[in-house]
Symmetry: C2
Subunit: 232 residues, 2 copies
């Protein structure tokens, strides 16, 4: 006998999301830790039969971050036969005293659609899902071992993010509305994991004609105040 959830979701299909944030210095991602199992995983979920894939992912990201209308990019679907791990799923469910019979469908083979999200780190208060104890920011250079193929998903997300860095939407979604040239450069450096030349970077950004210059930012520091910029 299978439970109600079996009718609610599309079987054998899930989504996972690498949620990137920038704390002003380093690039981070959100990772869940499941109750009493020592298992870490990406935020993710299932797609209801009467909702679009994008709706499902949007809703999932909103539940973890509280943010609506987040920048989302779907980058790859992972469909290896043995990518999922029924034993791990079972222990996660057992640790929460779930009825395994009702959750039998979760132990089947799953194909997952990988997404990444870019969010403004500032006013986010991440919330764990109903199977996990905690959700926390991890430095992208210090991601723990994750369940199943989730490390591979993170690596691919970062690769795609690096390839798309020239799009203004990337920076726009990791920074506040107004930012200094230095902050923008720090975002690029965090994503690319390399230091950039200040003068070349500034010249390039200005020549792209995507920035609007605003008033100066007086930080109370003993040096010339930088201009604030926003994306056009």
């Amino acid at each position: 006998m299978k439970g109600a959830n079996n009718k609610k979701f599309i079987p054998n299909l899930s989504y996972d999301c690498v949620i990137f944030g920038f704390n002003g210095e380093k690039l981070k991602i959100l990772i869940l830790e499941y109750h009493n199992t020592g298992l870490f995983a990406l935020p993710g979920g299932y797609i209801k039969k009467e909702e679009s894939l994008q709706e499902a992912v949007n809703k999932g990201v909103e539940e973890r971050t509280g943010l609506k209308d987040v920048f989302l990019d779907q980058f790859q679907t992972f469909g290896k036969l043995n990518r999922t791990d029924p034993d791990a799923t079972r222990s996660i469910l057992q640790a929460k005293n779930k009825d395994l019979n009702e959750k039998q469908w979760m132990m089947e083979r799953f194909i997952t659609v990988g997404h990444y999200a870019l969010i403004n780190y500032e006013n986010v208060n991440p919330k764990p899902d109903n199977l996990s104890d905690s959700i926390a920011w991890y430095d992208i250079k210090n991601v723990p071992q994750l369940m199943m193929d989730h490390n591979e998903i993170v690596d691919k997300a970062l690769e795609v993010l690096r390839n798309n860095i020239s799009e203004k939407l990337i920076g726009m979604n990791l920074l506040p509305a107004k930012f200094t040239m230095k902050q923008l450069q720090q975002v690029f450096e965090a994503i690319l994991d390399e230091t950039l030349r200040r003068t070349s970077f500034q010249r390039k950004m200005l020549s792209m004609d995507i920035l609007e210059r605003h008033e100066k930012l007086f930080e109370g520091k003993a040096h010339k105040a930088p201009y604030l910029y926003s994306f056009k």
Copy 2:
């Protein structure tokens, strides 16, 4: 009562494939026409429960083209709620006198994983699938109206192909093993849909250090014979 197929495949999930070929002049794709319906569609299919996504797509492309180990790139998963069209599917099945009861699962909502393939146009003899009358090459600039969201899938495939054109694998899979610089340029021009400067193109290709120069090709024309190249 549902038929055997319902147990064989992952429900609600399919793949579609934009199969690109280059006839020496123009970029083309393979399109199926279903029996007695006037409906056109991309080659595609379903994923068996005990095979990987990639295996399924490889097998599907092999069935249509006879070619094994084709270059395949998975570029996007399409998950809108109403992207599929049960009425169209029904009429395709009816035109082939299929038992609709047994094929009920095919009328459900489907999420599809979009791929594109690059194949050497020369020695391919495309074969229609068991629901279609014909499979034929269509100029990429002259694609007919397709079922469901398949035109959108084609557009996206072309966009991704253009973005990936600098990878040597692109040209390698659309040309014979040995080719002239002019042929290579024609592939680029067909994909990008713009004319390129001969000298710049040649210098760029040679500087990338991906080509090996072989003997000259004597075509019996009244001008200097071009060198043949292959990818390293």
